[in-house]
Symmetry: C2
Subunit: 703 residues, 2 copies
């Protein structure tokens, strides 16, 4: 069943009730208090997002440690230490078990409890920030399922990361805290009531997303830029400010907690996904710039292929496995394939290296001499993050070309098959991993051919490869580059190589398809607005895209008519008109707009002209906020019949200043207005100020 997306209202409804509240606030000196509370909420968002990230991180850490320790022990028991030809069957079975069980648990939870938690969560957050209300996306229940889901699947060893879900968690935390109530727990804390509207909530979610990025990567500026890159357009300084504070607080909290947990002093642990600080400053020479560009081109090609392949796989999947149980089975199958491929690699590739206790967490001797370890097993017996770190920072010659080559190949396809499964997993880490792997591989191969080319530092090229591949898959260039800089502590001067790789990758990739997040959004048919109007709309005027006749309501209309309209059509906004002749409302003169939700409240509470003296004194904007955001449906209103001759006077409730444009205005122009002001409805009027049509988000989506 296709989801019915609705939009968020960023435009504030400044009706009479709103102005009454404003005046009251001015009297009460409430304005200052509200500012302070808003700040406190942003700070809370930062803290709680970080705590959630810490929790996920620590649990994954502990469980992975147990798992890989156990596997290591099992290998050592079953394969005689001194070179004997042991049997890997039992360790393989154990590995299967320890992978399949968590994955199955995670997949089951996602599939049966909350299907919206599948995937990374970033596409949904992106939609939300763009102004699309994705149902159930910012609920506590969603967050709980997502948190457990990501823990189980990362521990299960699927090719995915935890950063996407963390960013999503940040958004949920923001929406949850700022509203002071929870639908999941059916609990209203009766605080923060002033923030219960779409406008405020969207601002908070922006901060939450930034805090999530900051917590996931330890990159506060990257977090702010992520929000900026995904949702800019109607920013102002105050909002940037609060977002930055939320992300700084978040990365700081994370820092404190994880430093304490790791027993480090002086807060030197930065970020969950600290890709490891490069010890030597990274340098480069002029002649490397074309190489970086070539890396970017390769990243663009590989990324575009990956995106296309992944979309194809997911289409096939949706087509052939529509049943819930099948989806769980799928995840299990992919998990089994992964473990099997890894085992085969470990078994057949013979790559022993001298032991270096510092660097390898779970060295497995397996078929190797004493004081050596199996390098293939080392690549697989750790979380993907640790592998990225190893690829960035291991010294020259620490890896074998063949091992890394097969590993890259296997991981590329494994990641492709994994993203899109019904489990909560992000795509950032596997992408970075694949990129780092091929980047290092290329450098190693060339170093093999030209041993004198000392500039070919494999760690550096692993970073460039990761940037190129991330650019090719995600295409979020600005925030990505900053995140990479922040998590690796690279010099400002290394910004340039990174951005060259990222830009080339983006441009090459964009030639073929969109970024993976955008492709996911497209598959979900969410009506997301692009940054610029699509070229097909150039030269058109409002007249050519508007909807008409418009369903309108008179300034004083009968309750019965309103009830009928709400039953009959499911639009969410209705122009309010006066000067109507012969009941032809759709030719009336515009005086405002009223939302479906407001009309429902009016009918529910019987706010009619005839019984004004009963409700007038105690009706305020709070009456409408109370039911936010889950407005009752029209079905819950007692049917009105024609004989009850009640009248509704909308002049008090409607938004008297909707944005109006002329029917001859060009589409690019009104698109910019729509996007810059974050509108939901735009009224098109004729020269006589008569309603000519209505434009919503859907009308801007080119079909």
């Amino acid at each position: 069943p296709q989801i019915q997306y609705e939009s968020l209202d960023y435009d504030v409804c400044e009706n009479k009730l709103f102005h009454a509240e404003q005046r009251k606030r001015l009297r009460d000196r409430f304005s200052l208090r509200i500012h302070v509370i808003r700040w406190i909420i942003f700070i809370l968002i930062g803290i709680i997002t970080a705590l959630n990230a810490c929790f996920v991180n620590i649990v994954i850490d502990l469980l992975s440690e147990q798992k890989y320790k156990f596997l290591k022990a099992s290998v050592e028991q079953n394969v005689p230490v001194n070179g004997g030809d042991g049997d890997l069957a039992l360790p393989y079975l154990w590995w299967l078990l320890l992978s399949v069980v968590p994955v199955a648990v995670g997949a089951t939870m996602v599939t049966y409890i909350e299907p919206i938690t599948a995937g990374s969560g970033i596409p949904q957050v992106k939609c939300y920030l763009n102004g699309v209300k994705v149902p159930r996306i910012v609920r506590i229940k969603t967050m709980a399922v997502k948190t457990i889901g990501v823990i189980t699947t990362v521990v299960g060893g699927l090719a995915g990361g935890k950063e996407g879900p963390m960013i999503h968690a940040g958004a949920v935390v923001a929406a949850g805290i700022s509203q002071g109530k929870s639908t999941t727990f059916v609990k209203d804390f009766r605080i923060f009531k002033a923030f219960r509207d779409d406008h405020e909530k969207r601002d908070f979610v922006l901060g939450g997303g930034a805090a999530g990025v900051a917590a996931a990567f330890g990159a506060p500026i990257g977090g702010m830029l992520f929000s900026l890159e995904e949702a800019a357009s109607f920013w102002n300084q105050n909002l940037i400010w609060r977002t930055l504070i939320a992300s700084i607080i978040s990365s700081f909290t994370l820092n404190i907690v994880l430093s304490a947990y790791k027993g480090l002093e002086n807060f030197t642990f930065t970020g969950l996904f600290n890709l490891g600080k490069f010890k030597e400053p990274l340098t480069f020479a002029y002649f490397e710039l074309p190489i970086f560009m070539l890396f970017g081109v390769a990243g663009g090609l590989l990324g575009a292929t990956w995106n296309a392949l992944n979309t194809l796989i997911n289409k096939v999947r949706r087509r052939f496995v529509p049943w819930k149980l099948g989806k769980v089975a799928e995840a299990v199958v992919i998990s089994i394939i992964g473990v099997t491929l890894a085992t085969i690699m470990i078994y057949f590739i013979d790559d022993c290296r001298p032991l270096d206790k510092e660097r390898i967490s779970y060295p497995v001797q397996l078929f190797c001499e004493d004081n050596e370890y199996n390098a293939v097993a080392a690549l697989w017996f750790q979380t993907p993050e640790a592998t990225v770190r190893a690829l960035f920072h291991d010294e020259e010659g620490a890896h074998n070309i063949r091992t890394v080559g097969y590993f890259t190949l296997v991981y590329y396809f494994l990641a492709c098959a994994t993203f899109g499964l019904n489990v909560s997993l992000g795509v950032f880490i596997p992408t970075a991993l694949v990129g780092a792997a091929w980047g290092r591989l290329v450098a190693m191969q060339f170093l093999d051919w030209f041993p004198d080319a000392h500039f070919l530092n494999p760690g550096k090229y692993a970073l460039i490869g990761a940037a190129a591949h991330l650019g090719g898959v995600l295409r979020m260039t600005i925030s990505l580059s900053v995140i990479l800089m922040e998590t690796t502590g690279a010099e400002t001067s290394f910004f340039f190589p990174l951005i060259i790789a990222l830009i080339s990758a983006k441009w090459v990739g964009d030639y073929f398809n969109e970024g993976i997040y955008d492709m996911v959004i497209e598959e979900s048919h969410a009506p997301i607005l692009p940054w610029e109007p699509v070229p097909q709309y150039k030269g058109l005027t409002a007249l050519e895209i508007l909807s008409k006749p418009v369903v309108c309501i008179k300034l004083r209309d009968s309750a019965h008519y309103i009830y009928e309209v709400l039953l009959r059509c499911d639009h969410n906004g209705f122009p309010v008109v006066d000067d109507v002749k012969d009941n032809r409302r759709c030719e009336g003169r515009v005086c405002g707009i009223i939302l479906r939700s407001q009309l429902i409240v009016i009918l529910l509470k019987s706010l009619y002209v005839e019984n004004k003296r009963f409700w007038l004194p105690e009706t305020s904007i709070q009456t409408f906020r109370e039911v936010y955001p889950r407005y009752p449906s029209i079905k819950s209103v007692r049917p009105l019949d024609r004989k009850e001759n009640y009248t509704v006077d909308l002049s008090m409730f409607m938004n008297p200043s909707p944005v109006r444009v002329n029917n001859h205005d060009s589409v690019p122009k009104i698109f910019n207005i729509f996007r810059a002001l974050g509108l939901r409805h735009m009224l098109v009027i004729s020269n006589e100020n008569r309603i000519a049509g209505i434009i919503t988000r859907r009308d801007f989506i080119y079909k």
Copy 2:
């Protein structure tokens, strides 16, 4: 004489000519080419801005080196080396000469050639990005005067920095390149014609400002955020992108050139104002957080005092020294006072330290033993930047409390007297210097009292002090913090202390007055729009701020009437109306808006209905662009008398889709629309679509 500020037009005039061009472009596949050209221009902006910055930097470097070498030699000649009681009179005179001459040259140039170049330039760039056209601010001549001005004054040793002028230079470069013509050289290169309008130019200037910051501080992300913090509101992703690229290119170019100049390999020289990378990662403990906050409070207080004092001094100055020669004399006097105070300090404070060749550029032995140098002279005998670097990075015990104490005091007041002189100088470096000095001073003092408090790393506290003082004076928190991070290479985890100091400073400072740039802007009476509508406007409606009766023009009006209107009133926009009864134009029905500049072109070129067949075929939007940006005045139009019965049909020229709002819309709402869309004129209409008034930038400024 007060400057008559006009506004920039960010709203694109989509008239028939525009659409004709669009269609032509679509046919010619010109769109893609224009995109590519736009990118090239942004890249060029980055490169040229950086080259200018390099030039300034290298020239200042060379000249300062000569100056201080010479002074050192002179001191050593006149003061017998072995402890003898020598005479400083001659070196003092030399110092005076070498300071007064450049300062006098710089002040003369600024005062007599281009007075707009006085000061930092950042306030003017800020105005421009806000949408105020500051006359002559983006001309090549301005840039030349500013460049020479800043070189002379920094070499002259005034308490100022070169970064503000560099940012200004970036803006000029952007405006210059993008237009492909120069008014100063009366040269039109006939390229980039498509970009000749306010909208495009403003976007380019945004990139130029960012490139300037990037070049001045070696901080590309800081540059982007600077533009964002000063001019956000109507951003979109593409613009962020281009701005970022411009600043990255700029910092990279700077890097290459300066690395080559300094003979460094591997591009390790980052930025002009590299505050020096901290060798050890900066760390901090929980209990230091309140200390950072106290530093911030102190910074806020000191900064607010500085701002108030500086504004006061400048008021007095403007009042009592209105003559040009007096302004030059003033600069000379301040320069003399500076040198004298420094000499007195050097003479009376006895602070000898063991020589450390590495660190001090021009060690002067002066009254000291062999193998010692005079620490006071060392503070003064270098550019302020080098002093900041010394305060950040010198080891514990490198300075004497008394020396730094006096130095702080002198520099605080010196900087205060300097900013506002008729010379080109920035305020960033002196502010950072004073902050670093008192920050280090406090740490040194406490370390003296509690020798066991090892956390009191003086370099770290110098950085915190600089942040606090910068926050207190400038109040640009976001970009400042990032710039400080980028130029000192501090860890991400140290972001938190910096931002705590900056925020406390900003909040405390904001309680008393505004940032120094905003105060300069206020003094200049430029109609800059704040981020949010002023509180006094809450609850008002458009009706209460609009101007009426509005001077309107009929869709088909007589050329004579238009001529009269242009002569009679100096508004820049006139609503176009039809359905006018009894010639009461100001009650007509709105159909568009026409700019003064367009009307002048129409009259100049006689684009009348009566001789349509002559001009119609060859008139295009290019006809109007050709005279951009210096439109001729109405005086240059041949007077039309009543007997020449020409008619002008505006339907082809006017902007048919001006933003219209209703007369009952609230002021905060229309303010947001005005700001978000970067408008110049906003038409207020009644319910019947009749013109009710007009609102421009000036009407939003609270008087």
